[in-house]
Symmetry: C2
Subunit: 405 residues, 2 copies
Amino acid sequence: MGIVVQKFGGTSVADSECIKRVARKAIRCKEEGNQVVLVVSAMGRSTNQMIALAREISANPSPREMDMLLTTGEQVTISLMAMALEDMGHSAISFTGGQAGIVTDEFFGKGKIRSIDTKRMKEKLDQGNMLVVAGFQGITHEGELTTLGRGGSDTTAVALAAALDADVCEIYTDVDGVYTTDPRVVPNARKLEFISYDEMLEMASLGAAVLQPRSVEYAKQYDVKIHVRSSFNDSLGTIVREVSEMEKNVIVNGVAFDTRVAKITIAGVPDIPGVAMNIFNRLAKENINVDMIVQSNHKGDVNDISFTVSTSESKVALTVMEELNEVLKAQGISFDDTVSKISIVGAGMQSNPGVAASMFEALAEADVNIQMISTSEIKVSCIIAREEVQEAVKALHDKFELERK
Amino acid sequence: MGIVVQKFGGTSVADSECIKRVARKAIRCKEEGNQVVLVVSAMGRSTNQMIALAREISANPSPREMDMLLTTGEQVTISLMAMALEDMGHSAISFTGGQAGIVTDEFFGKGKIRSIDTKRMKEKLDQGNMLVVAGFQGITHEGELTTLGRGGSDTTAVALAAALDADVCEIYTDVDGVYTTDPRVVPNARKLEFISYDEMLEMASLGAAVLQPRSVEYAKQYDVKIHVRSSFNDSLGTIVREVSEMEKNVIVNGVAFDTRVAKITIAGVPDIPGVAMNIFNRLAKENINVDMIVQSNHKGDVNDISFTVSTSESKVALTVMEELNEVLKAQGISFDDTVSKISIVGAGMQSNPGVAASMFEALAEADVNIQMISTSEIKVSCIIAREEVQEAVKALHDKFELERK
């Protein structure tokens, strides 16, 4: 008998009717002959409501107490889900993260899973129970409650699937799989049957918000097969797994884009060692995530350095850069928070030269100007004006014929 | 430095403003030189809301999953309270029941405290922290979450005070102490400065809903001084503690009454051994709490048996009795759910004959008919018609001159 881990997010368990629907889905999986482990998030917007309540009390609540507060959200869902399963005639048992044996490090609010002791889960599964485990949380060796940070429920599900040696980790979402690009932008976008971990990682990091990047990294590391599928129907979704040699022939698998991007350029910084280090150390100290970085030397002894950040961090980044402009005796800062990043992703790219050129050609034909370029082994990203994103996505989707299988 | 345990119920922590008010009260206690342990309940009506949510999912949720659900209520409050204390500049740390070392037996929904390991609490107190402990909950040896049943937060507070050898356990309520009777009925009712555990127990069991009887039993057992006081002002309340010999001279200390009472009589049951056993075993099986029982033999070979139950259980009790009427070949059931119980309580009663007679005299003078009588060492209770309760309470309060100290 195989083990299936099923993860349902907050919108899938938003009220009692939703919880019953999920319970029925899980029971079908059990009746097909599987041992079932559900991983669930907090109901609907309850986490946000708790955060708002904490802010009423304190502008700067301690991470330990925030975790003490937020872990209650998933605990409510697991109890209700177990009740629903029992009410439908199936024995079920709920586990907090700690009861499931999920031990994390001591970093409140962003705990990392250290180990999972599966003894109790296996015992309860073997007794015929369905398990319902609280996502997003764990316990330290000292018994402190921790949360795993953003997207933590996906990570919980993948980590449990790895620890329990599950056949598959099913992640239920409000979309029915991973598409070649956003179907709202390109109506003939195609649902992918398979995608590799690396491609999924790039797609996720690039704005296709189906899976949290950390959970994909975890799945890759422990070779966990992920099935991304819809919580609203029973059709098959997209399988994320190791790519086969044959599939490396697929050059481009998807077009991703992210419109929450700001570009900052510091012009005319002295062309001496240590300047880039200065800039990016300073940004790192402010906890600002820098994405693309481009340096160009155009006047001999000075350089222009451009980089992109998320729009949510762009104001802080701009303040930092204006201070540095003084210190570095540079020639000024330019700032643009009306740009977007557009990317093509494909595992076959590394063995197929000319893919980047095709991308630039498609964008040129669509009259889209490229402001920055960055490449990795399996993706090419360009920064363009935000108002041109939709047109650019369509152009690339057409160029690489992604609507065809 | 002494330890003070302060317990605040749901209405005292109903929203963020209430929580801040409680935090300020606790900080004053700390600044007076005490080590402070707060015990808090779930916010306002959140427990009832969770129960309603569970009922939407299942008509009969398992006690284990109910405890998994309900323990989140106190966990929310402890985190917010610790945030409030920290925000006001005091180091604070919240503990779930389990983290506070409160180990219970395995009876979900009505767990009893087995032991409290105070090591971690003492360590954190000695480091200068204020502690905030979740009331109403504990953990089993196997790591299961349990609740202590009704009024459990009072019990948590008293148990912690006993385990930590606290100077006092302060129970904050919406009244400012224990009165000779309900001040809403008798305006010159007097706040008692002291009351003994036994008297408090009788008062509590008899309807004066200031403290849960179980917490008073616990306090008596471990000799914990309880201070019942108002969460809305700073005036002294009532101290509950062991009675001194001198105080045994006080004959009657209070008048208690309970209007949620129903009386059931089964008439003409055969006067043979085992009949009463039959009746009350059968009621116990239905989990019905029988309070007063009176048996009278009036026709030689048959008896009438009367007893009282809470109005909330009277319908079930009536059904059981109608079945038994057939089985026992009795002469019929009479039922009255418009009665009330009125009681006088006093530790000195046992050494002062004639107290019961004075009570009956007072009721007769007020033209109140007595339907049933029951006595214990420190109380006399009568069943009377509900519409005569207020008059009867006033008559007894006057008779025993309870307005005088």
